[in-house]
Symmetry: C2
Subunit: 511 residues, 2 copies
């Protein structure tokens, strides 16, 4: 593309982002059909969704993951989507379905995932795989509701609590419900529509590239819609042009070979919890800026259109207050800007025990689970190398397994770094992609104004789609922002589920 053409595209895209006329709202026949269907079937829809949420879906729980896949096969078949499983040995299957349209100009692939994040059931107010309705958000006093009686009014502010209620069974279920609505209204897609629901996204999709490679022709398309993630806190329909990549690692430092009595050895035996604290503490400054050398090197800056879309973003300050934070990291930059930077986050940290289970010991090891989020221009291998170099700079001898006695006695400070095998890089789809205008216009015809983001803070395995299939991706996020995804007491607000039906119906009907 020559430079003039590119600048024109940017100007056009910028205009699109800025043109948030509410006049276009509700101007979409498919979205209207979805609303009519939903209004007439709310109770039945909830009943169906509860049945789906009742199937446990932890990514490593293969028997139950397979039960989810079977549920989806049946759900697709019922809707005429010609379901099949796309499998590689030892991995959860991806569930595939399609609506092929003779003479279609385009093929759109709708991606989501049906597996869920690890959890500790003790941290949940109600069991994670026994969905319940509440009047409002749990921490704001939401009360349990009995399942609605036939004819009872269902309030769009109610929430469903269950693992994956938002992430991402909501999107999977929305697409299926959208197909119901379109079928009922006699609306037939104009493009070829393909659905693929992955079963191990929460493990960083270790087998998904294989599945893509084995089904290249089937899964190629003009565009993949990544249906996952929360909408902007403003509640606007949210379109994202990319996602951060992710690389996880686990860092362990070593004290005495066995835990020691803290009285008899305190002041003499080095405490690995303290060593880990000092090591982690060295990685960031008081404003949360990462101090690992070169950590931000190579980051591809946002262009004018991308920056403009960020400027449209939600109200950080309202979120900050709602989260009970008197200050945030980032030295005054907005959340929208900050998720376009690489991050280093402590997901978990553990040494010895706390609370009533704590014992008076000097622990033997201390471990931190870390996730590195990646942006365009920063690779997973590169970021890991920088972090390891930083650990070495703090005087640590770095190993990738438990040190033996000789290693222990040769090195005063030892850190074991185990790099997760399944990281992936960031993707940022150009906002001036020809089909982007179509997507944005469709979104606006559903519900205006919309929010447009160059990058989702969260990660989805977009890089393998681009690398293996050569297909660009655009993400459509419909869950409420305050859904506790990845944590305990995950929820979906009914309004977001309802809105999702309309959004997905409209996109399925795109030309």
């Amino acid at each position: 593309m020559n430079i003039v053409k590119r600048i024109c595209s940017i100007v056009i895209a910028f205009t699109m982002v800025a043109a948030l006329s509410p006049a276009q709202a509700q101007d979409n026949a498919a979205a209207r059909a979805a609303r009519e269907w939903r209004t007439a079937h709310e109770r039945q829809i909830l009943d169906d969704y509860f049945a789906f949420l009742r199937i446990p879906n932890l990514s490593r729980d293969l028997p139950n993951v397979r039960r989810n896949a079977e549920y989806l096969m049946q759900a697709m078949d019922k809707r005429g989507l010609k379901a099949r499983l796309l499998e590689v040995p030892g991995a959860p299957p991806a569930v595939y379905g399609e609506i092929l349209v003779p003479g279609a100009k385009h093929t759109y692939v709708f991606y989501s995932h049906y597996d869920g994040q690890p959890l500790d059931p003790n941290e949940w107010a109600t069991p994670p795989f026994e969905p319940v309705l509440r009047t409002a958000r749990l921490d704001l006093g939401g009360q349990l509701l009995p399942f609605p009686a036939p004819g009872q009014r269902i309030d769009a502010d109610w929430r469903i609590y269950a693992r994956s209620a938002s992430d991402a069974k909501a999107a999977v279920f929305s697409m299926l419900t959208a197909v119901d609505a379109l079928n009922a209204a006699g609306l037939k897609p104009r493009a070829n529509i393909k659905f693929i629901f992955e079963g191990e996204e929460e493990l960083e999709s270790p087998h998904f590239a294989q599945i893509l490679a084995a089904n290249k022709e089937l899964l190629k398309g003009d565009l993949w819609f990544i249906c996952d993630g929360p909408e902007d806190p403003s509640g606007r329909l949210t379109i994202k042009f990319g996602a951060r990549g992710i690389q996880k690692l686990e860092l362990t430092v070593f004290g005495p070979k066995r835990p020691l009595h803290s009285g008899h050895y305190g002041n003499w035996a080095p405490n690995p919890a303290l060593m880990l604290a000092q090591l982690l503490g060295s990685m960031k400054d008081a404003e949360g800026r990462v101090l690992v050398e070169n950590f931000y090197d190579g980051v591809v800056p946002l262009n004018a259109v991308e920056l403009a879309s960020i400027a449209e973003a939600g109200n950080d300050d309202a979120q900050r207050k709602e989260l009970g934070l008197a200050r945030v990291d980032g030295g005054g930059k907005s959340l929208g800007e900050l998720i376009n930077q690489p991050s280093l986050n402590i997901r978990g940290m553990s040494s010895g025990r706390i609370g009533e289970q704590a014992a008076n010991i000097i622990p033997s090891t201390a471990t931190a689970a870390i996730d590195l989020r990646l942006v365009k221009g920063v690779t997973k291998e590169g970021q890991v190398a920088r972090v390891i170099a930083h650990i070495r700079k703090q005087g640590y001898y770095v190993v990738d397994r438990d040190p033996d006695d000789a290693t222990r006695l040769a090195h005063p400070r030892i850190a074991r770094v185990v790099v997760s095998a399944d990281g992936y890089n960031a993707v940022r789809t150009p906002m001036d992609l020809p089909l982007a205008a179509n997507v944005l216009a469709t979104a606006r015809s559903v519900r205006s104004p919309i929010a447009v983001q160059p990058t989702s803070g969260g990660s989805v395995p977009l890089d393998m789609i681009v690398d293996v299939l050569g297909t660009e991706t655009i993400s459509v996020s419909t869950a409420n922002y305050d859904n506790n995804q990845h944590s305990n007491n995950e929820d979906i607000k009914l309004l977001n589920l309802w809105n999702g039906f309309e959004t997905h119906a409209a996109l399925i009907m795109m030309e």
Copy 2:
């Protein structure tokens, strides 16, 4: 005591410490009687001890703690010790027994405890309350042994694995076995002998002062023997003239009100695990010296006799190597010197989760469990105030409960500090105490050379004995130093159990 007399006493005590003539070894009739009894009854003794260890004894598990007390009542009655329970409401009972000797010049009180430290059974190689024998230390390849058949040779290098095998059921059981041996040999104590076995020492003895106050006349004596703790790593019989005090506290720092998706919020929402790491990291330097202001102020220095006794201590370097440590804290000072200093230890640290249970979140809180060890001249209240002042200096607003919304929004950094109600101060008994010479001579007549320490690194509630009863204490430690006490896979070496019988028999027979 005038100064000349005091100096003489110090010189005498110093001479005693230095006089480690092996010629005196085995020169004790009571110890010989204990050895004969043990040699003739090893299998029966093990069987009895296993039965005691099978009774779960976590301090908070009151029903089982009471079963231990009942076991001890029966064991005392069988030996003619006129057992009774000393109780205060809501607390584990102390078990008391006595041998009163008409015309006795002295009264000696033998203290130990029968409760055990908290544990996680998943961390144990075999269940903590199902004692087993092993050929050697577990981590050095010790193999499981069946319970010895009648007549089978029992090796003194074998170890028993169970919670409290060392700490402190070994001492309790040793005293009872010593009474058996003395009874069998027809040896009658010359002093009044009183036994008191506490049931909540591992919770820092929250009710023990009450028990002492309610039984002041009964429990007063010329000297309390504190029978607890590990011997010097050299394997010498170990006499300690005091113990560090302890004060525990739990420190929690706060991030967002609910855990957040680390992708969508990473770089923006402050991570409490990182904040805690930086806060803990600020408390010590790279050599383990505490950086909390005034932390070492007021420490009463060791006198010449005390310093001399430390110089006799074990081989730190052999221990260091055995523990797999290429370096130790303390800037070159010996373990013996370092346990005569106050300490700050991280007992446990937790935020989010690690391993396969880790989720991609920014945690909501991060917590560290800390124990402060105290020495003479440093009080529990004083040390806590210094630590809190340090936390404030790092920019934290300190609270003693979970912050409400207004507090959260008013303070950028909030630390909750919960101070344990049951700390106690250090005690150091003067080495020139008149009865000390008698005790040291008796110990040397059992097994020479002995190790003499001014302070045990570990803590026992000596301060309340001195404060409430006005009685001085001397500690006698007989467990193997490498017993994993307070941790998983706690053990006692049979040699140490055997030696304990002899030591306790000799002390019970002291004039």
